[in-house]
């Protein structure tokens, strides 16, 4: 048998390829459709919005709570008559904790369902994966999670904190408490690595020593070595950017090693009420967190939000910062659309500047230039009851500064 017996088939296939390449030669000019983007379908008496969260995979535990609070906001708005007289019709998709899947589903929501806006995403990697999709289609994403900053897409509204609304206040608080040295522990991905770059720049400028920097793979539960290194470093405090399950393992090693909130406090930026519940308060009592919202935040807007959430999803369900930011995102979108008088993305964007909302976290204001929102920074202490109580706040909303341009020490960062 010869290797080339079916030469003709091979030749045929090659011809096909060549033919395909010729018939399909693309155009280098951008045509109408992509120049104007996909327009949302608002012809009926409802308007579709996309909900893009991980309902399966490692991120599901966190992202499902975000989905729940988006749904709560949608129901509230619909009960009050909808947006511009149209009821919101939510279209849910599962990002499956997989970044390319997020991109695929975003494209589906925009071009097949023709939604007016999309709410969701959690990890920075998923946001980076969908960003080109939203920019290409000129569609809107409302991103509800605190993140590492250094980004400003014209088609994303960031309703979570950027670094100067969470990490920098956390560091300021440590400094005010007399911390002269910190140890950095984080998961191995973009947010902790970028956050730690910012922390190191801050530390250098503020005479704070960084005694060590360790990363564990996402989902890792081996913290014996890291905790020993933290202990022997003798640092005044630990800045923790671990995410997910790793926090459970870290704190379960931390306390038995003889480290306490009094001797070496840990400031965490990814532990909210939901995570406190799963880690166990006995390991966390007295430790610090940096956020913009806690379930215990005072105010009528928050009492109403907490009561509505518990009534819908169960009395044992806590509310947390990302959930609140997602809830705020939906309401802000409604306010922008109503100010613009249309669902058109460009009109909504130009109407966004100065929009305010009496959010559960307090008054928030949209900054039209950065498309981030001004929010109050809050440092909290984890209590024995699993709730977090505020020990310090910034007094007034902090204007967003995603590229840290107003901080001289951060000049080399972006």
């Amino acid at each position: 048998m010869s290797l080339f017996r079916g030469r003709r088939i091979l030749a045929g296939a090659m011809t096909l390829v060549a033919a395909a390449a010729m018939t399909a030669c693309g155009s280098k000019t951008t045509d109408e459709a992509s120049a104007t983007g996909v327009t949302a379908d608002v012809s009926g008496d409802t308007v579709k919005v996309g909900l893009l969260n991980s309902l399966s995979g490692t991120m599901a535990i966190s992202e499902v709570t975000v989905r729940d609070s988006i749904m709560l906001a949608v129901e509230e708005i619909n009960a009050a008559g909808g947006v511009l007289g149209k009821k919101i019709q939510p279209v849910g998709e599962d990002g499956a904790s997989d970044w390319p899947t997020f991109a695929e589903k975003a494209e589906k929501l925009i071009s097949e369902d023709r939604v007016a806006a999309v709410f969701g995403c959690w990890t920075s990697a998923s946001r980076k994966a969908v960003k080109p999709v939203f920019e290409k289609n000129k569609a809107l994403l409302f991103y509800p999670v605190q993140y590492e900053g250094l980004e400003q897409s014209p088609y994303i509204f960031y309703t979570g904190a950027t670094t100067n609304q969470q990490i920098v206040p956390g560091l300021d608080y440590l400094k005010s408490q007399g911390a002269k040295s910190v140890y950095l522990v984080g998961s191995d991905y973009v947010f902790p690595r970028t956050a730690n770059k910012i922390i190191k720049a801050y530390a250098t400028a503020n005479g704070m020593a960084v005694l060590g920097e360790d990363y564990a793979p996402l989902g890792s539960t081996e913290f014996g070595t890291i905790v020993n290194k933290v202990k022997s470093s003798g640092a005044d405090a630990v800045f923790n950017t671990l995410n997910g399950d790793s926090n459970v393992a870290f704190f379960k090693e931390y306390k038995p090693a003889g480290l306490t909130a009094a001797s070496m406090p840990v400031v965490s930026v990814s532990i909210a009420e939901e995570e406190v519940k799963s880690i166990g308060t006995q390991y966390l009592e007295g430790q610090l967190t940096a956020w913009n919202y806690y379930q215990t935040t005072p105010g009528a807007a928050n009492s109403k939000f907490v009561a509505a959430y518990k009534a819908k999803y169960g009395a044992d369900k806590p509310t947390s910062d990302p959930m609140e930011a997602a809830y705020v995102g939906v309401h802000l979108w409604k306010a922008m659309v109503e100010k613009a008088g249309a669902f058109d993305v460009e009109k909504v964007r130009s109407a966004s500047d100065g929009i305010t909302f009496d959010a559960p976290e307090g008054l928030v204001t949209v900054d039209g230039k950065t498309q981030h929102i001004a929010k109050t920074a809050r440092i909290g202490k984890i209590g024995a009851d699993g709730l977090i109580t505020e020990v310090w706040n910034s007094g007034k909303p902090v204007a967003p500064d995603p590229y840290l341009k107003t901080y001289p020490w951060a000049s080399g960062l972006s």
């Binding site: 080339f4 088939i9 399909a24």
Partner: protein, 393 residues
């Protein structure tokens, strides 16, 4: 194992996996040509006419996965090497292409955006530089994976590492590559990977017309790979490969070197995965560690198992079916689709051990009464081949 070893031709027809030499070659060739024409019509005419831009882009993505599957079909289905680390080769091809496209987007002397953000680099790292040239990057998408596979394969096969040990080794390689990429955030983009790819050799990827062009390139490449695969497995080498799979020691005693035979299949599979990765990048616009780690590597193999690993077309059918089911189920049942997908795998593996491709021979066995006796032998033989493969994996 004896059941699969070809018996003397006087007693039994030649091995079913190959076209029997005594059979009129014209008919088989005609059938293959008809199959190819049908496939080409489906991919080049029916799909572009029936599907929206979004669905066509998804199909392009599935076809890339199918290319990896074709390679696994050769290495695993034909060569008995369970490669649980094809993501590495897919990733090498994908990153090589994405690096070139990122550099092309950045323009001459420019740097990809993320490097300043995460790496605070002032100039392009040395190992990125050659990828600025398409004359280096394009061949590298295929040759780099092949070179890695060659290096690894020569070490492993000479030492007669096989079975579960080989599978574990290939998987460890995938894990190692992911850790390496994530750790080097400043130069690789870390967990984010390389995203936001705008152009493809001067063509704007945001333009639906150009997306369509990418689809046609992918469909054409897949057909070409299938033709190549058919040639390969029907050649003398293809039979030797099956012989090595079913009785490596025997082949060695016959004077062949099984290590080289396996190496060729492994390297070819790696090249196909690299090519798939390279085409995946313009089709989807992203390459990230999440696409090349342990889980996606296993998903490639699941597609092949579902389709039927020992046939030419089986892996393609399986890969496309699994990827399509994933999309369709998750769109319809966003909350419960993972269970349904799992159920699908269980059902196929339990009731169709030969994969979707064996449906064809099963259907032929049904109307066996009308067929001449020799036909029956063929289908029975085929089933038997597929059963005995399981321990070999």
């Amino acid at each position: 194992m004896t059941a699969v070893t070809p018996a003397p031709p006087a007693v039994r027809p030649a091995p079913v996996d190959a076209v029997p030499p005594d059979r009129p070659a014209g008919r088989a060739r005609l059938r293959t040509a008809a199959g190819f024409a049908f496939g080409a019509a489906l991919l080049f005419a029916v799909a572009p006419l029936m599907l929206s831009d979004f669905r066509l882009a998804l199909l392009a993505k599935y076809l890339c996965v199918a290319m990896v599957a074709v390679g696994i079909g050769i290495a695993w289905g034909r060569g008995g090497m369970l490669t649980l680390g094809q993501g590495v080769f897919f990733g090498l091809g994908g990153y090589a292409m994405a690096m070139h496209l990122k550099l092309a987007d950045a323009g001459p002397g420019g740097m990809p955006d993320f490097m300043q953000l995460y790496g605070q680099l002032d100039e392009l790292p040395l190992w990125w530089r050659p990828f600025a040239s398409p004359w280096f990057a394009l061949p590298a998408t295929v040759l780099l994976p092949m070179a890695v596979a060659f290096g690894l394969g020569s070490l492993v096969f000479r030492r007669r590492v096989r079975g579960a040990y080989f599978a574990i080794l290939s998987q460890a390689l995938a894990a190692a590559m992911v850790i390496l990429l994530i750790g080097q955030q400043g130069t690789t983009g870390g967990t984010n990977g390389l995203t936001d790819i705008k152009g493809f050799f001067g063509y704007d990827l945001d333009d639906p017309v150009n997306q369509r062009m990418v689809y046609f390139i992918i469909a054409g490449t897949l057909l070409a790979l299938l033709a190549l695969t058919r040639q390969l497995i029907h050649s003398r080498y293809g039979e030797l490969l099956v012989a090595v799979r079913d009785g490596e020691e025997r082949v060695r005693f016959l004077g062949y070197d099984p290590a080289s035979v396996k190496l060729v299949a492994y390297v070819v599979a790696a090249g196909m995965a690299g090519l798939a990765g390279a085409l995946f990048v313009p089709a989807v616009g992203i390459i990230s560690p999440a696409l090349i780690g342990i889980v996606p590597s296993i998903e490639f193999v699941i597609g092949v198992a579902v389709g039927g690993r020992a046939t030419v077309l089986g892996p393609v059918l399986g890969a496309v079916a699994v990827a399509w089911a994933r999309t369709a189920l998750s769109e319809r049942f966003p909350g419960t689709w993972t269970y349904l997908q799992g159920l699908l795998f269980v059902v196929v593996v339990a009731f169709l051990p030969g994969g979707l491709a064996s449906l064809w021979s099963l259907a032929r066995r049904r109307d066996v009464g009308a067929q001449p006796a020799r036909r029956r032998w063929l289908s029975l033989g085929r089933r038997r081949v597929e059963r005995t493969e399981v321990p070999a994996a």
